[in-house]
């Protein structure tokens, strides 16, 4: 047997190989172009509506106000959608579509497959997020030519950090469920609705800071476009004698980054452990 001609491939190289071929698969799949189409539709609508109606919230103030109203309102949505689209079935798909039967019984660690797929999904989503940012930037420069506000650059960086955390969460879900559509749907519902409801209930009703929520932390994406940065806690009193108070929280930037970082780590570990234990049974 020609053992000399075979070299042992390291796990780092395996991560790269898995990432490369998964990215190729993403890049050619219909899903990538559906995602691009969604971005084109959102930016197309924004561009024409803003161009036609010139709403003061967009063009009435300064460049920051414009980026806040456009990018700030939609960036999180784009992040959630691409994390769910590319990550939501990354692992469950290997089981449901049986592609794992081709890839897993090879001299490769499951963790290398997981990380490689994660990188591929992150790369595909980063392209989508980047296209959206460029489209917003083109609009912004049209109305407010000259300079790009630094806060927009920060906001993009935060959106990307949110993408990293959300991708980790979507992957964990894709390891948890066997069905692709369920794991995608769960990621979307959780990130678009459930966490938002939890944020609102926690702050407005219970009056506690939702420090445990990923979407609360993602608030820094739009908050950073407000100058000055919103106060950490805003209390409004209402009713007769001002007996009712409503609290509203804004994560500070270090706090927001920390929460997103914790989500990334916890979800990455959880997803990996689930995938390692998951069985290929039909």
């Amino acid at each position: 047997m020609s053992d000399e001609s075979k070299s042992v491939v390291g796990s780092l190289a395996h991560v790269g190989i898995t990432a490369k071929y998964n990215f190729l698969n993403y890049f050619r799949a219909r899903r990538f172009y559906v995602m691009l189409a969604i971005i084109v539709i959102i930016t197309g609508l924004l561009t024409t509506l803003v161009g036609y109606y010139r709403p003061p919230s967009f063009v009435g103030g300064d460049a920051l106000g414009f980026y806040g109203a456009g990018w700030g309102s939609f960036a999180s949505f784009v992040v959630v959608l691409s994390a769910a689209f590319f990550g939501g079935d990354a692992i469950s798909g290997e089981f449901q579509n049986r592609t794992g039967y081709f890839l897993v019984p090879n001299p490769i660690r499951r963790s290398a497959i997981y990380v490689g797929k994660w990188l591929a999904a992150l790369a595909a989503s980063t392209i989508i997020l980047g296209v959206f940012a460029l489209a917003m930037l083109a609009n912004g420069l049209f109305y407010f030519p000259g300079s790009i506000p630094w806060e927009f650059v920060e906001s993009f960086a935060f959106a990307w950090v949110y993408l990293v955390a959300a991708m980790s969460l979507a992957f964990a879900f894709s390891s948890l469920f066997k069905s692709s559509s369920i794991s995608i749907l769960m990621s979307v519902i959780l990130l678009l609705f459930v966490f938002n409801v939890i944020d609102t209930v926690a702050s407005l009703v219970a009056g506690i800071e939702p420090w445990f929520s990923i979407t609360y932390a993602a608030g820094i994406i739009s908050d950073v476009l407000n100058v000055p940065y919103p106060a950490h806690k805003v209390v409004t009193s209402l009713g007769a004698g001002r007996r009712f108070t409503l609290a509203q929280f804004h994560a500070t930037i270090p706090e927001g980054l920390l929460i997103l970082g914790v989500y990334f780590v916890v979800m990455a570990v959880l997803g990996l452990v689930l995938f390692e234990r998951k069985e290929f049974t039909s």
């Binding site: 047997m1 020609s2 053992d3 001609s5 075979k6 070299s7 042992v8 491939v9 190289a13 395996h14 190989i17 898995t18 071929y21 998964n22 190729l24 698969n25 050619r28 799949a29 579509n97 049986r98 592609t99 794992g100 039967y101 081709f102 890839l103 897993v104 019984p105 090879n106 001299p107 490769i108 660690r109 234990r277 069985e279 290929f280 049974t281 039909s282």
Partner: protein, 310 residues
């Protein structure tokens, strides 16, 4: 060191149900071993444990002496497999999918494209090498899967019903490929006893997750086919109970078993009746007998070992 596949007290439970119970199997050397057993016997389960797709509840599985759970990377380094018709990323071409495996398995860069062209030619898929797998038929995909097991010069090849989904020519081509795999250990599950007889030197039979026998085909046939003969008779219509009873009463017949709706396995005692006399008396029933074939030794052994589940 000779290639090997070993299971020690391998057990797999799904809740209350035991799919495999204490399977001990030790296969050493370069040869082809058929893995036989009725539906649900635990063949796929054994192979999935061996290749790290699922984990045993108890016991260990080793390939070339390496525990698959402790070090899957080393265990699978010179083992390739097809289990339950795998799927390939649909937007990749066979060339790309196979080069992914070449890279993972450490086939040197300069050899990759030559190796891939060779294995695709062997499964007659050369003209589809650059088309996306997504549009392939089941059998075409299975051919690419067969090609994938030939990459990287494996010492051990584990095949779970490799000819499933293939057309008749495809089946015979896979048989030829398996027979050409010299200097390797091939472990292949199959329901096609003729295929197993043709390509394998040894067989392991399991039922209800337990090993019944592991030996050379000659020994298994000699031990379990019984001194008696067996023929398979096919009928124009369904074999009903009265017809089975009539055949059973023919002189020299020792037992009858329905192998499917229109087929009857008839065992007879050669001392009491010769095969030609039996044929005459079956035809004499005027019950619509169409064909009359001698069951192969392996089939006979299989039927006598696994009759309880039929």
């Amino acid at each position: 060191m000779a290639p090997s596949i070993e299971t020690r007290q391998l057990t797999k439970s799904y809740g209350q149900f035991t799919a495999l119970s204490g399977l001990d199997l030790n296969i050493q050397g370069t040869k082809c071993v058929g893995f036989l057993g009725p539906n649900g016997a635990g063949k796929t389960t054994t192979m999935k444990i061996l290749t790290g797709l699922i984990r045993a509840t108890e016991g260990t599985a080793l390939i070339n002496g390496v525990d698959v759970v402790k070090d899957k990377k080393a265990a699978m380094a010179s083992c390739t497999t097809i289990i339950e018709t795998p799927e390939i990323y649909p937007s990749l071409t066979p060339k790309e999918a196979l080069s992914m495996l070449c890279e993972i398995r450490g086939v040197p860069r300069q050899e990759r494209s030559k190796t891939i062209d060779e294995v695709l030619a062997r499964v007659k898929m050369s003209e589809w090498a650059d088309k996306k797998v997504g549009g392939f038929s089941k059998g075409m995909k299975q051919r690419v899967n067969v090609a994938s097991t030939l990459l990287s010069d494996p010492e051990v090849i584990i095949l779970d019903e490799p000819s499933s989904g293939l057309d008749p020519r495809g089946m015979s081509e896979v048989r030829d490929i398996v027979m050409s795999l010299k200097d390797r250990l091939v472990f292949m599950s199959s329901h096609l006893l003729a295929e197993v007889t043709e390509v394998c030197q040894e067989v392991a039979m399991i039922d209800h997750g337990k090993l019944l026998v592991y030996d050379t085909i000659e020994n298994v046939t000699a031990k379990f086919a019984g001194g008696g003969g067996a023929v398979e008779v096919s009928f124009a219509g369904d074999v009903d109970e009265p017809l089975r009873a009539r055949v059973s009463k023919l002189p020299g017949v020792t037992s009858t078993t329905k192998s499917n709706d229109r087929h009857l396995i008839v065992k007879f005692d050669p001392a009491a009746v010769t095969q030609d006399k039996l044929l005459e008396s079956v035809a004499g029933l005027k019950a619509g007998a169409l064909t009359f074939t001698r069951a192969s030794g392996l089939e006979d052994a299989y039927l006598s070992l696994i009759k309880e589940t039929l």
